[in-house]
């Protein structure tokens, strides 16, 4: 049984947001409600200001606090693959999972838009969906939180469940450069120009993700919360270190 994980090399990431755009197109996201985002942080005061960027998907935690907050099992961890997913047919929109996620990766669309103007006025949703994007992917699987988000429920990154779950069994890595696995690779990984993202089986000792975590001392975000993300970050010091939330308090 695979345990899918992602490695993000902060030394390579250029903050170009290609991953964010690819995810938005793949998953029919509303502008600003980015399941995968590259966050920008500014530190210091003029003239000594630095800007940092930090790619942030859902961590698909090994011990997800969102799952134990959810009263309906709408949020669940799939045994095969370790995906943390949302069954939109069970979600009641209580937002307990949003409050309980340490990484701010969840979205509730039935509210004021994150960025103006509100595009829902231009492309109003049909059949209870939050909007009708001009381009939409063919996949629609509400029980795994895949497709256009309905109103009144919460959504988040699925690790491209609709692709990854169809990958050949036993494969160690999903790599966009390997023709055999390209179509099963998450959109953000596939689209990353400087190859800052890697995706593979954390339970397979031969996987590239495991080697990278071992060789470059991969770290996990907010490890003290006990969530144990399945997303690891690498930083050799050339780029941003994992930011702390204290930085949000800087002027």
């Amino acid at each position: 049984m695979a345990k899918w994980g992602m490695v993000i090399d902060l030394d390579k990431c250029t903050g170009c947001q290609a991953c964010t755009t690819a995810c938005a197109m793949e998953n029919s996201r509303l502008p600003g409600e980015n399941w995968q985002d590259v966050l920008f942080y500014s530190e210091g005061r003029f003239p000594n200001v630095s800007i940092k960027w930090f790619p942030r998907p859902c961590m698909h935690c090994e011990h997800p606090s969102c799952v134990s907050a959810c009263p309906t099992r709408a949020t669940y961890k799939e045994a095969e693959g370790g995906f943390v997913l949302i069954d939109w047919n069970k979600c009641i929109g209580c937002k307990a999972c949003m409050v309980a996620c340490p990484y701010g990766v969840r979205f509730y669309t039935d509210e004021r838009p994150v960025v103006a103007p509100d595009i829902r006025g231009v492309f109003p949703g049909k059949d209870g969906r939050s909007w009708s994007p001009p381009y939409r992917g063919p996949q629609d699987d509400p029980s795994h939180g895949v497709g256009i988000q309905p109103n009144g429920v919460v959504s988040k990154c699925t690790f491209c469940y609709h692709k990854v779950s169809k990958a050949p069994k036993g494969v160690a890595d999903l790599d966009e450069h390997d023709p055999a696995t390209k179509e099963f690779t998450p959109a953000c990984v596939r689209m990353c120009p400087p190859k800052a993202r890697y995706f593979g089986d954390l339970d397979n000792p031969a996987s590239t993700v495991n080697k990278l975590i071992a060789d470059k001392r991969g770290t996990r975000l907010l490890d003290h919360t006990g969530n144990k993300p399945q997303v690891y970050y690498l930083s050799g010091g050339a780029a941003a270190a994992v930011p702390s939330s204290r930085e949000t308090n800087k002027a």
């Binding site: 600003g32 409600e33 985002d37 966050l39 920008f40 942080y41 500014s42 960027w53 930090f54 942030r56 606090s65 799952v67 134990s68 907050a69 959810c70 009263p71 309906t72 099992r73 709408a74 069970k90 979600c91 009641i92 929109g93 209580c94 937002k95 307990a96 949003m98 409050v99 309980a100 996620c101 340490p102 990484y103 701010g104 990766v105 969840r106 979205f107 509730y108 669309t109 039935d110 509210e111 004021r112 838009p113 994150v114 109103n151 009144g152 429920v153 919460v154 975000l221 907010l222 003290h224 919360t225 006990g226 969530n227 702390s244 939330s245 204290r246 949000t248 308090n249 800087k250 002027a251």
Partner: protein, 373 residues
């Protein structure tokens, strides 16, 4: 129905409550139908639970506190609580209905919640257990209201139902506190003292509601007069002192702590609402602990009103304060999150209040809520 024992102004109060409910309810429904939850000032940037959840939590926890007040006389044979018990049962029911209304309009899919929570057995979630506790508690309240309060002066409460109601009320308070207290990524909430704090403030709110409406009902009998001017205000004073210790203790620890997330205390102590809360608690403490003030009904009404406002402000500060630090939103949400409730959120608070008041006034007009159990 005996006019000497039913409450003053019950029918007029009921009509006033219904009028307020219709006006505020129509506004809320209109806004939600037109804009969805965009009518609230909550967003995915970090402040997910706003004033509607504060309202829901305050009313639910106060209802549970009232359930405890109602059951103490029967379960532990404490005579001072008996004159308040009937009114406390009915008030608990009224506040529970108000809490349910606030939650109904806040949830994304409230009707789905009716089957999705009980049928999916997510035993790891405090919210699942809270809902189980609320269902048991509501059934106990209905049994006490129909089998005792509605049956007239000679009826006696079932001790079995009272015991279950007491246990269920404490269970609701503890499970209600757990979702906050267990979140290690939000240090403002993550703490072992939070369930105890919830218990103290819930019993305090329950006692305050029961005493306030007993005073407002007027013409108390001798046992009621003795209870509301003697042991019960003294208990209120003791609980206010403990509540103040919790608030000030948490403030000192929060300001001194170096942990990410605790910086929110600097914002809280800079807000007038925090100091209004402290001042109201202090004044209520003085009014309920001074023997001279305890003898004055109007001073006690003032004390209890100040106390309830302070407890509501405290609930607001707790629920909102824990969400002010945005977790990994980068420049989408720089600094602490700014939140103030929208007009629709205020209207929802008023609607829940009017609904609770209408239900209470209906009972006050129909049943004998005063007098010893």
């Amino acid at each position: 129905m005996n006019s000497a024992t039913t409450s003053r102004g019950g029918t007029g109060g009921f009509l006033a409550g219904i009028v307020g409910l219709v006006i505020t309810g129509a506004f809320v429904v209109w806004q939600l139908a037109a804009q969805g939850h965009a009518a609230f000032n909550t967003t995915s940037l970090g402040l997910m639970w706003g004033l509607p959840i504060v309202t829901y939590d305050f009313l639910l926890m106060s209802s549970a506190g009232l359930g405890i007040v109602a059951a103490l006389g029967t379960v532990f044979g404490l005579p001072a609580f008996r004159p308040l018990a009937r009114r406390a049962v009915w008030l608990a029911l009224a506040l529970l209905v108000g809490a349910g209304a606030a939650l109904f309009f806040e949830l994304g899919s409230p009707l789905r919640a009716l089957w999705a929570i009980p049928l999916n057995f997510q035993v790891a979630s405090p919210l699942f257990w809270k809902v189980i506790g609320v269902v048991v508690y509501a059934i106990c309240l209905i049994l006490l209201a129909s089998g005792w309060v509605a049956k007239g002066a000679d009826a006696k409460p079932s001790s079995g139902v009272s015991v279950v109601a007491l246990v269920a009320a404490v269970f609701v308070i503890f499970t209600g506190s757990l979702l906050f207290a267990t979140l290690s990524m939000r240090p403002f909430w993550f703490s072992g003292e939070v369930p105890v704090m919830f218990l103290v403030e819930s019993v305090l709110a329950g006692l305050a509601f029961a005493l306030l409406f007993t005073h407002l009902a007027g013409t108390p009998d001798e046992a009621t007069r003795a209870a509301v001017s003697g042991p019960l205000p003294r208990l209120v004073a003791l609980l206010i002192a403990i509540q103040l210790a919790f608030v000030l203790g948490r403030m000192v620890v929060g300001l001194a702590a170096n942990l990410d997330g605790m910086q929110v205390w600097q914002t809280i102590v800079a807000s007038p609402a925090f100091w209004i809360q402290i001042a109201f608690l202090a004044v209520a403490l003085w009014l309920t602990s001074s023997p001279g003030m305890r003898a004055s009904g109007s001073m006690q009404v003032a004390a209890l009103l100040l106390l309830l406002i302070a407890l509501f402000l405290g609930k607001y500060e707790f629920v909102i304060g824990g969400q002010l630090v945005p977790l990994f939103k980068g420049s989408w949400a720089h600094g602490l999150i700014q939140y103030s409730p929208s007009t629709t959120e205020w209207a929802l608070l008023a609607m829940a209040g009017f609904l609770a008041y209408a239900v209470y006034a209906f009972g006050a007009a129909r049943f004998r809520l005063g007098g010893a159990a």
